[in-house]
Symmetry: D2
Subunit: 100 residues, 4 copies
């Protein structure tokens, strides 16, 4: 569980509404069984590097079937030996905000 990524992926050739393509990616993320957090701009996914990159690959391959132009943005935060961070990062910062 050493990597968390933030993933956005959507077609550019399908006009203004891309929600149905985003939904297909989220479905693949869900089916991976990895911990995830779905937000308004991106989805965070936590796992080992190979697992997480496998999900990114499956999302891309799925959209590629019927999209001629795809944009993907990804940030990754790797931390050696730090499991369960998708929740702990949020609670740790929330504690610090209260202490300010």
């Amino acid at each position: 569980m050493s990597v968390i990524i933030n993933l956005s992926i959507f077609p550019i050739d399908k006009g203004e509404s891309v929600g149905s393509y985003v939904a297909r990616a989220i479905k693949i993320i869900k089916e991976s069984g990895l911990e995830y957090n779905f937000g308004p701009m991106s989805t965070s996914i936590e796992g080992e590097w190979d697992e997480v990159m496998g999900v990114v690959n499956r999302c891309f391959q799925d959209l590629k079937k019927d999209c001629d132009r795809i944009y993907l943005n990804m940030n990754a935060d790797y931390r050696n030996g730090a499991p369960g961070r998708i929740k702990s990062k949020v609670t740790s910062v929330q504690k610090k905000i209260k202490q300010q």
Copy 2:
């Protein structure tokens, strides 16, 4: 409320633990009164362009006080005449997932 951004900002010159700096940025986002969604990798903020960019500016100016190297990553999604999207984008995609 036409823009949602996804913002990550943290120092690179402070070693591995940057949570206290992230907490300072979140506090500024909170105090802005704008709708926001705090996640493990970034914080989404919704508002008019000038409001949102004002918050980004205040976060940067605050970290700049005591950080010599700062990294910032931002994605913005502008949609003309589409208020309240920080929630509606999530619920709209969730509906589409159920329909799959």
Copy 3:
């Protein structure tokens, strides 16, 4: 000259070819007089924080005139007291590659 950003900005509601919109943004970057480096995926711009963010703002305001949905991705690297980095970062890494 303490900040370098990497900027991508393009409409999502105009179909697959967005080059003419990208060209409008580059023109604004050029006219700013700031040091810049135009690449296949983004444009790097170097200056003081306020100058660089002013350029980002002008690019957005220009596309907003005729685009109903705009996506923007930006990374910023701030380093206190480090001018002329848009060139020096590249040459410094090139030296390190030779030493390997």
Copy 4:
């Protein structure tokens, strides 16, 4: 040659100067034989999806050897049946700027 990515990868646990780690990543990119464009904030790499993602994987695995915290930012632009874009995207936009 259907994908161009923009890649930044660097450790967060090694202090302010990360150039030697960036140099290691660039060396791996060079050795891949793929077309690339090294800029001040990121490196663009063009190839087939699997080739490009293989390079990203090798860069990560290399830094992981001696870095305990790594940050990675990646944008990808996929276009069906469009080879040689790392150069053509730049020249196409440059032409459009002249026509303005």
